[in-house]
C-alpha cells in the first residue's frame, strides 16, 4: 500500500515529491507493450467484435449481391437500376447512414451491421456482374451446344468463370468494411473504433495507435486469408501462368480453326 503523505504526492517509486514542486507530466508514449499486455482483455474483445461483424456483414452482403448480379446479368435492363441504387447507397457517408439508422433501430450492433452490408453491396454486385459479363461467349456457346440449361450453365460454367472477379470483390469489400466498422463507434458498436475513441477521450496515445494498428493488421490478415481461399477454390488458376495444361492445350487446339476462319 502506498502511504499517503499530507501535502505531497507519492509517485510510487519510493520518492516523495513535496507539495509546491512541479512533477513531470506522466509519460504518454505512442506505443507501449505494457499497455497491450495489461489491456489485452479490452483489445481482444474489440478485435473479436470487429472481426465477427465484418465477416457477418460480408456474408449477408454476398447472399444478397450474388442473386442480384445474376438477375441483372440475365435481365439486361435491370443492370443500370441495380448498379445505380447501389451507387447511391455507396455515396451516402457512413456517419450519416448510421445517423439515419440509429433513430429507428436504437444504438448497438444492428444499425452498424445494416450500414456495412449496404456499403459492401455495391462492390460485390459490381464485381460479380463484371465477372459474369466477362465470361467468354465461346465458352457459353460451347455449354449451350452441349445441351446445358440456363441453371446448369449458370452454376457449372458462368459462376466458376466469374469467380476470380467475385473473389476480388470480396477482398475489396472486406478491407473496406474493416476500416468502416470504426465509424460505428457513434452507434455504440465500433469494435476497435470504440477503443480508439476511448483512447482519444482519455488522451492516451498508445491506446489510439494500438487500436489503429490492430485494425490495419486485421484488414491485411483477412485479405491474405481470402486470397488463399480463392486459390483453394480455383485450383485451375494455380498451375503455370494462370491456366492449366489442359486449358492451354485446348486453347492451342481452338486457335487453328480460328486462323482458318480469319483467312477465309
Amino acid at each position: 500500500m502506498a502511504p499517503t503523505l499530507p501535502g505531497g504526492t507519492h509517485t510510487g517509486a519510493r520518492t516523495w515529491v513535496p507539495a509546491g514542486t512541479f512533477e513531470r507530466m506522466p509519460p504518454n508514449p505512442w506505443f507501449s507493450w505494457d499497455y497491450v499486455v495489461n489491456n489485452w482483455d479490452e483489445l481482444s474483445t474489440a478485435l473479436v467484435q470487429h472481426t465477427t461483424i465484418t465477416l457477418q456483414a460480408i456474408l449477408i452482403a454476398l447472399v444478397i449481391a450474388l442473386p442480384l448480379a445474376v438477375l441483372a446479368h440475365n435481365v439486361r435492363w435491370l443492370a443500370a437500376p441495380v448498379l445505380g441504387t447501389a451507387g447511391v447507397l455507396y455515396t451516402v457517408p457512413s456517419l450519416a447512414l448510421f445517423a439515419i439508422l440509429v433513430p429507428f433501430t436504437g444504438i448497438g450492433r444492428t444499425p452498424v451491421l445494416i450500414g456495412l452490408v449496404m456499403y459492401a453491396l455495391l462492390i460485390l454486385v459490381r464485381n460479380a456482374l463484371v465477372g459474369l459479363q466477362g465470361v467468354d461467349p465461346d465458352v457459353r456457346d460451347a455449354a449451350t451446344g452441349l445441351g446445358y440449361g440456363r441453371w446448369r450453365l449458370l452454376v457449372a460454367v458462368e459462376l466458376p468463370n466469374a469467380l476470380p472477379s467475385i473473389i476480388t470483390g470480396v477482398r475489396l469489400a472486406t478491407v473496406t468494411t474493416v476500416a468502416l466498422v470504426t465509424v460505428g463507434f457513434v452507434a455504440g458498436y465500433g469494435g476497435l473504433g470504440t477503443v480508439m475513441f476511448r483512447g482519444f477521450r482519455s488522451s492516451y496515445n498508445a491506446q489510439i495507435l494500438t487500436a489503429t494498428l490492430l485494425c490495419v493488421v486485421l484488414a491485411v490478415v483477412l485479405d491474405v486469408a481470402l486470397y488463399l481461399l480463392g486459390r483453394a477454390l480455383m485450383p485451375w488458376s494455380r498451375t503455370g501462368s494462370g491456366e492449366s495444361r489442359r486449358v492451354r492445350r485446348a486453347r492451342l487446339r481452338a486457335r487453328t480453326p480460328g486462323t482458318l476462319e480469319g483467312a477465309a
Binding site: V88, T91, V92, P93, S94, L95, A96, L97, F98, A99, I100, V102, P103, F104, L172, V175, T176, V178, A179, T182, V183, F185, V186, G190, L192, G193, M196, F197, G199, F200, S203, N205, I208, L209, A211, T212, C215, V216, A219, V220, D223
Partner: protein
C-alpha cells in the same frame, strides 16, 4: 413516425438554420474545409500523377498507395493526427486530404498513361516537344478520368469531414454529435439526411461538371466507361 416528425420539426425550425452555428454556418464551414482538403490533395496528386503517367513510371507505386489507404481506418488516422497536436479542423482537413490523394493520383495516372500511343506518336511526328504534347494532346485526352477522380475525391472528403466534430472541429458533424450526445434522435436523423443529401447533391452537380469539361468528341466513350 414519431422520430420522423421530430426530424421534420427540427428541420422546419428556421432558428436551426440561421442561428450562429446553425445549419447554414455549418454547411459553409463544411464546404470550406472540403475545399482546402481537396486543394491540398490535388496539389500533391495532380502533378505527381501527370508526371508518373507521362513518363510511364510508378504504376506499382500508385496501386500500392491506393490499396494501403483502403486498409487504413480514416477515423483512426484522424484521432492520431488530433492527438499528435493538430487539434480540430486541421486534423480533419489533413486526414481527409491524405485519403483523397490516392483517388486523384490513380485516376490521373491511369488517364495520362492510358493515352493512345498512336496519338502521342502523331504529336511527336508533328514536331511537338514532350511538354507541348502533354499539354495539347495527352491532358485533354486524360480529362475524363482526371475529372472522375476529382469527383470521387470531393464526394469522399465531404463524407469524411463530419468526423471532424469528434476531434473538436467544425462542420456539419457538430450538430450531429450534439444530437447523439443528448439522445435527440430527431436531430440526429435530420442531420443524417442533410449530410446524405449534401453528398448526393454534390455528386450530381459534379457529374454535370465532369460532362462539361470533357472534350465533346470524348463524351460518348466517357459515358460508356462511367
Amino acid at each position: 413516425m414519431n422520430i420522423l416528425d421530430d426530424a421534420l420539426t427540427w428541420l422546419n425550425d428556421p432558428l436551426n438554420w440561421t442561428a450562429p452555428g446553425g445549419l447554414i454556418d455549418r454547411t459553409g464551414e463544411h464546404l470550406a474545409m472540403t475545399g482546402i482538403a481537396v486543394l491540398l490533395a490535388a496539389l500533391v496528386a495532380l502533378p505527381l500523377g501527370i508526371w508518373l503517367g507521362h513518363t510511364g513510371r510508378g504504376a506499382a507505386a500508385t496501386i500500392v498507395a491506393a490499396n494501403t489507404t483502403r486498409a487504413l481506418p480514416t477515423f483512426g488516422i484522424l484521432l492520431i493526427l488530433a492527438a499528435g497536436g493538430l487539434f480540430g479542423d486541421r486534423a480533419a482537413i489533413i486526414g481527409a486530404a491524405v485519403f483523397a490523394v490516392p483517388l486523384i493520383l490513380s485516376n490521373t495516372y491511369t488517364g495520362v498513361a492510358g493515352v493512345d500511343p498512336a496519338a502521342r506518336d502523331a504529336a511527336r511526328g508533328m514536331g511537338m516537344a514532350p511538354l507541348r504534347s502533354l499539354w495539347i494532346v495527352e491532358l485533354p485526352l486524360a480529362v475524363p478520368l482526371i475529372a472522375a477522380g476529382l469527383r470521387t475525391a470531393i464526394v469522399q472528403v465531404v463524407a469524411t469531414i463530419p468526423l471532424a466534430a469528434f476531434v473538436g472541429g467544425g462542420g456539419l458533424g457538430v450538430p450531429l454529435r450534439a444530437g447523439f450526445a443528448t439522445q435527440r434522435y430527431g436531430q440526429v436523423l435530420a442531420l443524417g439526411l442533410v449530410i446524405a443529401l449534401l453528398c448526393l447533391a454534390i455528386d450530381g452537380l459534379l457529374s454535370l461538371v465532369q460532362r462539361a469539361v470533357t472534350p465533346r468528341p470524348l463524351r460518348a466513350s466517357a459515358r460508356v466507361r462511367g
